[in-house]
Amino acid sequence: MQMKVESNELGVKSKESRAKQLKIADKEFASRLILGTSRYPNPNVMLDALEASGTEMVTVAIRRINLTDGSRESLISLLKQKGLQILPNTAGCYTAHEAVLTAKLAREALGTNWIKLEVIGDDETLFPDVSELLKGAEKLLSEGFVVLPYCNDDPVTCKKLSDMGCAAVMPLGAPIGSGMGIRNPYNIQIIRELVTVPLIIDAGVGTASDVAIAMELGCDGVLLNTAVAQAKHPVAMARAVKLAAEAGRLAYEAGRIPRKLFALASSPVEGLIGK
């Protein structure tokens, strides 16, 4: 009976946390996942995967219009029809100047002042350029943008971004598209302790367990693209990461046991036969 009561209490808590999972700036989201819109086999699979993931916010890139091809895909209208919030990004920018211009173009094109700020420092690793990132974030914040910066898993950088007013910090788990998971969970835990804004793992997720680990470390959300889009079955993987986010968060809230080097028997040691 006691166990049943506890189970119900946990169920109620779970429902409550589902109702307002993630708050960024002035917006609340029922899902802790933000998904990319690239590299899916086709738009239908993408839409089905986004739905299966439960996400309410997706990221898009800003690129030059192809002047020789007038038949432009209507990606944004497809996403808006699904009620998804659009989070434009500055992917591909290598300087603060490029990123700020891209953010302003995105604001004009899409009517949103939210921006996923990426300033890349190296085209092989796609690691961020920290000094340019900080410069770009400062400029965009001064112009009224809601800035969600993709950054290194560096506690000092994350603290600076949080202190200057970014709406979240989004450290990488591993290089973009690498699927290597969270390579430095200890830094992520330190970042969790240092920043008060939402902490979102951006990049590196390879499969559902990586999402669960991010959640268990106390992250508020995960942004992922390739792990879903390039999975053998993207829609199934989207559902898997949704469940992983829920399970991981619930485990975080439930509070894991401390790790011990030696065994601790679960069964009673009294009343053993022959003793």
């Binding site: 990319g36 819109t37 690239s38 590299r39 899916y40 993408m46 990221t59 898009v60 890139a61 800003i62 690129r63 030059r64 219009i65 002047l67 007038g70 432009r72 895909e73 990606l75 944004i76 209208s77 659009i86 434009p88 990004n89 992917a91 100047h97 211009l101 302003k104 173009l105 995105a106 604001r107 004009e108 094109a109 899409l110 973009i176 598209g177 693209n225 390739t226 889009a229």
Partner: protein
């Protein structure tokens, strides 16, 4: 006169506006989800008609695409 549009040379008439340039490029000025920068400054849609471009200017016409 020569201007640069999305990194490529384009010839348009003297006194052309951003709106008339779009017409040259067969892009409807009502097309949603596009934005324009002129010499690295974003020009709001309601100023396209009266923004005159001059020789050598760099114009970027962009839109949102799939990304991660």
């Amino acid at each position: 006169m020569n201007v640069s549009v999305n990194g490529k040379e384009h010839i348009t008439h003297e006194g052309a506006s951003l709106a008339s340039l779009l017409e040259d490029l067969s892009i409807s000025r009502d097309e949603k989800g596009i934005a324009i920068a002129l010499d690295y400054e974003v020009i709001p849609r309601d100023l396209w008609e009266r923004t005159v471009i001059s020789c050598g200017m760099k114009i970027e016409v962009v839109r949102a695409v799939a990304g991660g």
